[in-house]
Symmetry: C2
Subunit: 147 residues, 2 copies
Amino acid sequence: MAAADLSTHPGHLARRLQQAHTLLWTTMVSEETTSPQFAVLNALVEKPDTDQRTIGEHVRLDRSTIADLVARLAGRGLVERVRDPLDGRRNVLTLTDEGRKVHRRLVTRTARMNKVFLAPLDEGEREILLRLIARVADAAEELRGQG
Amino acid sequence: MAAADLSTHPGHLARRLQQAHTLLWTTMVSEETTSPQFAVLNALVEKPDTDQRTIGEHVRLDRSTIADLVARLAGRGLVERVRDPLDGRRNVLTLTDEGRKVHRRLVTRTARMNKVFLAPLDEGEREILLRLIARVADAAEELRGQG
DNA sequence: TCGGATTGCTCAGTGCACTGACTAATTCGA
DNA sequence: TCGAATTAGTCAGTGCACTGAGCAATCCGA
């Protein structure tokens, strides 16, 4: 049985793309705060005082993963977790001043990093790449919803 | 500080793409054998009896990760690790009959899965997506090489 | 209103992926 | 040839990401 060329495997390319991004992130943005953590801080700037599950859904992290991640952010004093008095099941998340400060600092660095990351492509190609990825990911997430 | 839209962040999209792929993989290809594991089996079909580091480099896994992964494959009896008698530092990897069998079975399933994964795109768009990802990943891996 | 279903969270377990430290084997230059 | 540098592998530690089980709070229909 012939072995297939890995460069035709979207899964392998997706993994390489993410690895490449993580590498660049840690060197150009932050060693302490990861990209998914930044996504959560970002989401909390957009919609403050949102419950954990909703934030997780927004940044596409499942219950377990968002719980772990938030625990780390809370441990570093960037967010606070408070049980919702109106609904005892929910954890409401709040950015601390320190969390806001970290977020602010990373916004500019992230923009700089994204430029370097996509530097091999021209402006049109960048748009196309992001759009195509979004379409594939959206469709797969649809499938998931239907189970 | 305004929060940026996540859909413009290539890192976030890359993560979503990989998550989507993993989800489809486990439902359509295998629950036991992961996509990176398949990549290793595939590499061993291409170049039998190669040492662990070379295989890892080929599938883009670092020393630690390939070691863990190969240990799992060895535990399931799909590959064998033998110390190279000519160079006592190397682990030479060999596919077992069972490993070859598993690989053969997954090749067709993977092809089927890739079709579904990329179904939202037309033929031209698929090519473009794969090429653009490869260019970005290649460039980032170049940066890495230079430190 | 009360009991079953749903919802939100946590915990345990598994796997990918990285860094940094360590060991052992090999290589190469003075 | 011998010692320093390089190379391959392992191990410990951290973080992302998922499943499946379990628990407590809430919701909703008979």
